[in-house]
């Protein structure tokens, strides 16, 4: 999947891979296999190398085998529960990086998925050390497509005009040639279609030149006036840092020219003439972004893995697990349930946090990376290994089922048109919708869970899960 370059592992180990060697036209992709090698933010235990002919080593190994050192949970990250966003916020940069790299937990609150706000900001301010972010790539692709459509519409309009003119002209010429006109015109149309179908490539080609400049890490175009103030101030310090030593920068920082300058360097080499390299520039920006964890994600990290502790905004003391559980149960709906209505002793199994969590846990524990599916009108998306490796193949739709409840109607409001609209949306993005029926236990079945060891695990085990994958079936396409 990822570019398996020779220096892949070395670059990636630094976790902020630099993407562009100066000469290659295409930026190197970071080696995701290395960055995201760990599926969980828990540390593996590697036994020391065994030397078979050394009895001491053997003994040591035996000892380690039976009494291995505890080292899976090296740190416990801190998250703050935010009642406003109904999520858990993680601000510590190393925690954010770890949680994203090892299991793709959460999302950046200012980004589409991976927290990339800082990198985007740095690039906007002209930092050349930062690689292109996925948001930028997406934006560029969208712009290209928009441009292509504009061009196509323009061509269509042009051709239409041509036909109209020809028709008007033939009208003047007289009605005798009417029959001929149509034939002639249909040829025109064929011509147009051919041109349009060829347009795709030509447009992408014509917009191509704008891409490499960005990809090469060459300076971004001059910022608009409102941005200039910041970047000017930044560029002053930046140029002092580097400029004085190696690269003489001629432009005074006060000028209103773009903040990043190309410095011409003449080398003592006859073959290479003048070379343009971007000024090495360092910009410091305070990170405004944090990682947002869904309640299900946060609970998995707290309860199952035990590597996250959750506090509230007013105190730094970590909340005890029952408190967190209760909080999440309350904030499962909007508006949140009143505190008095949620009780741990008489747990209501039909709580949407519980049902969502059961499904989340089910797929996480099977090795899937589970992300929110709100963009595609479903509950979750399932990624194999993670979103950087491949698109989500499955879209999860949770269907609570109450077969054990007395007198409760099933699937209220889930009409066929509702289902069809969801499957249509998802087939457009090549995802398979999976109905996940969750058979909810009755309140009686979960009574007394708080007095047992592993009570919560037993409660979760009482929810039955059954997956039904949906696929549109078309008679004309299945005959073979």
């Amino acid at each position: 999947m990822a570019d398996t370059s020779a220096n892949g592992s070395a670059t990636a180990a630094t976790a902020t891979p630099s993407t562009k060697p100066p000469h290659s036209a295409k930026p190197k992709r970071p080696n995701y296999n290395v960055i995201h090698a760990d599926p969980l933010p828990v540390v593996l235990y590697h036994s020391p190398p065994l030397i078979p002919h050394n009895p001491l080593s053997l003994l040591h190994h035996l000892y380690l085998y039976f009494f291995p050192p505890v080292q899976s949970h090296k740190v416990v990250y801190i998250g703050v529960f935010s009642p406003v966003t109904m999520s858990v916020e993680v601000r510590d940069p190393t925690a954010v990086l770890d949680l994203w790299n090892k299991g793709f937990w959460g999302k950046g609150n200012l980004s589409r998925s991976e927290p990339t706000w800082l990198n985007r900001e740095l690039r906007r301010l002209g930092d050349t050390q930062v690689g292109e972010t996925s948001e930028e790539i997406t934006r560029r692709r969208r712009d290209q497509r928009k441009e292509m459509k504009k061009e196509r519409a323009r061509k269509e309009k042009e051709e239409l005009q041509k036909i109209k003119e020809a028709e008007a002209k033939s009208k003047e010429d007289g009605s005798a040639a009417n029959g001929k006109l149509i034939i002639a015109d249909s040829k025109v149309v064929v011509g147009i279609e051919a041109e349009i179908s060829g347009l795709d490539e030509t447009v992408t080609e014509s917009t191509q030149p704008s891409i490499p400049t960005e990809e090469l890490g060459l300076p971004t175009p001059p910022p608009s006036s409102d941005e200039l103030n910041i970047s000017d101030a930044e560029s002053k310090t930046a140029m002092v840092n580097i400029g004085s030593e190696t690269l003489p920068v001629s432009v005074p920082p006060t000028s209103k020219s773009p903040p990043v300058q190309l410095a011409k360097v003449v080398r003592f080499d006859n073959n290479t003439s003048t070379k343009e390299i971007p000024v090495q520039k360092k910009v410091t920006v305070q990170n405004q972004e944090h990682l947002q964890l869904m309640l299900s994600e946060a609970f998995f990290l707290v309860y199952v893995l035990g590597i996250l502790s959750v506090t509230t905004a007013d105190s730094t003391n970590p909340l005890p697990l029952p408190e967190i559980f209760k909080l999440f149960l309350r904030y499962s709906t909007f508006p949140p349930l009143p505190e008095s209505s949620v009780s741990l002793t008489s747990l209501n199994p039909d709580n949407s946090f519980l049902i969502n969590y059961v499904v989340y846990h089910h797929f996480r524990s099977l090795g899937w990376v589970v992300k929110s599916g709100v963009k595609f009108s479903v509950d979750y998306l399932l990624y194999k290994r993670g979103p950087v490796f491949s698109h989500a193949e499955f879209a999860i739709l949770i269907i609570p089922s109450y077969s054990r409840w007395e007198g409760r109607e099933e699937n209220v409001g889930k009409e066929w048109y509702w289902l069809h609209s969801i499957t249509r949306v998802n087939s457009q993005v090549k995802k398979t919708v999976v109905l996940v029926y969750v058979d909810v236990p009755t309140a009686d079945e979960v009574k007394g869970w708080g007095c047992e060891a592993d009570g919560l695990k037993k409660v979760l085990g009482k929810y039955k899960i059954r997956e039904v994958a949906l696929r549109r079936w078309i008679p004309g396409r299945n005959r073979e």
Binding site: L44, P68, D185, G407, D439, E467, A469
Partner: protein, 410 residues
């Protein structure tokens, strides 16, 4: 049409050409030349652009349609088939078997008389392949006389409308017929599910299709429960009595697979004991039963030994159903034989999960518009994904340039 980024990932398999309106000019071309290649459809025009070219194209298309429809349909005497509708038996008796259509239709009794189901009759009459007659009014029947010898020839012909009126009810409703006809026109071989047969003659299908009696495991097999209990109880016993005890206690784990094993929540098997509630819903859930067995068109198809069907179709109306409940889905799947895990996995992880161990196609009919959706019994719980990173150096020799020999194991 405005398309955004999402539509570029359009799945070709989901493009249904039959959704589009026919352009009859192509038909005229084909029939004129006697064959030829299948025409490629042009761009859709959505609004009048004011050119003569567009309006003349539209006129051509319209004329071609009228021309195609105005052709007189005729039948040669040779292939003319006739039948009599027997309202009491709710079947049509064929007088003489003619034409290839009977290869995948009807059923002969012991006397060699061919009988058609009501949907088969309607389909044949509708397409003009068969003429149907009313049963002759007669006095007290003579039970000794074989049925097929009675009342041939002197009857009153039925109109198409009359055939609908007579046979639709016995078909099980308009929706069922619409789906039947749609599948037949698409070229499939369609037979009713034996359970849905009201006549004994059609019950015997000549193939085994029912799932073997359930030797049910749980829906999700969750590793080895005993080991789990042992580990949790004996080794990590520090937090006994704690309902919130972490599932992954701090410790030394040699692989992620080992960790994931601990993350699994054991689930007990679910058996569907019909509660008071599901019993009450008995009539409703019976809407979700297999209606038709469908085979792909094949030249050597034999009615007497058709082999297992390729698809199972359940016809429902959007008027009186919504998304099936868990019990209804379970009931639907129960009747269908399932493949084992290895067979499902042969097509790969994704495809295996999408096709499931067995699947039913739900044909939802909304005022005549049919939408087919395949419901597959996926078993995600049986497929634990690879969680540990692939062994270093595997699959990419030459990666570690200078170092020779096998990659050192870490």
């Amino acid at each position: 049409m405005e398309t955004d980024g999402l539509t570029t990932g359009f799945d070709d398999a989901d493009v249904d050409l039959s959704d589009e309106t026919q352009d009859f000019r192509f038909l005229a071309n084909i029939t004129k030349k006697g064959g030829g290649s299948i025409p490629k459809r042009g761009e859709k025009d959505f609004e009048p652009d004011g050119t003569n070219l567009q309006s003349s194209t539209l006129d051509d298309s319209r004329n071609a349609m009228f021309q195609a429809l105005s052709v007189e349909r005729s039948h040669t005497g040779k292939t003319r088939a006739t039948a009599t509708w027997h309202p009491t038996r709710r079947l049509a008796q064929i007088h003489e078997q003619r034409g290839v259509l009977f290869k995948a239709m009807g059923r002969a009794d012991r006397n060699g008389t061919m009988w058609l189901l009501p949907e088969e009759l309607m389909y044949m009459v509708e397409r003009g392949s068969l003429e149907c007659f009313y049963e002759q009014e007669q006095g007290p029947e003579d039970p000794a006389e074989p049925e097929h010898k009675r009342s041939i020839g002197l009857n009153v012909p039925m109109s198409v409308q009359a055939v609908y009126a007579a046979a639709l009810e016995a078909t099980g409703g308009l929706e069922r017929y619409q789906v039947y006809a749609n599948l037949k026109r698409s070229g499939y071989i369609v037979f009713r599910d034996p359970e849905g047969q009201f006549d004994e003659l059609f019950r015997n299908v000549g193939y085994e299709y029912k799932a073997p009696p359930p030797t049910r495991r749980g829906w999700n097999l969750w590793g080895l429960g005993i080991f789990e209990a042992l580990f949790n109880g004996a080794f990590w016993g520090t937090g006994k009595g704690d309902p919130f005890r972490s599932m992954l206690a701090p410790g030394a784990y040699r692989s992620y697979a080992e960790m994931y094993k601990r993350l699994a929540i054991p689930r007990k098997e679910v058996t569907w004991t019909p509660t008071a509630k599901t019993g009450e819903e008995g009539t409703k859930s019976s809407r979700f039963t297999v209606t038709y067995h469908v085979w792909k068109p094949r030249p050597n198809f034999k009615k007497s030994a058709p082999g297992p069907p390729d698809f199972y179709i359940c016809v429902v109306s959007t008027l009186d159903t919504k998304l099936p409940s868990l019990a209804e889905v379970d009931g639907l799947f129960k009747d269908i034989p399932e493949v084992d895990r290895a067979t499902a996995r042969q097509k790969g992880l994704y495809q295996g999960l999408k096709e499931g161990r067995r699947n039913v196609i739900l044909a939802t009919v909304d005022y005549g518009v049919i939408s087919y959706m395949k419901f597959s019994d996926s078993r995600f719980g049986d497929e634990m994904l690879e969680v540990d990173p692939p062994a270093k150096g595997k699959g990419k020799p030459g990666n570690k340039g200078g170092k020779g020999g096998p990659p050192a194991k870490k």
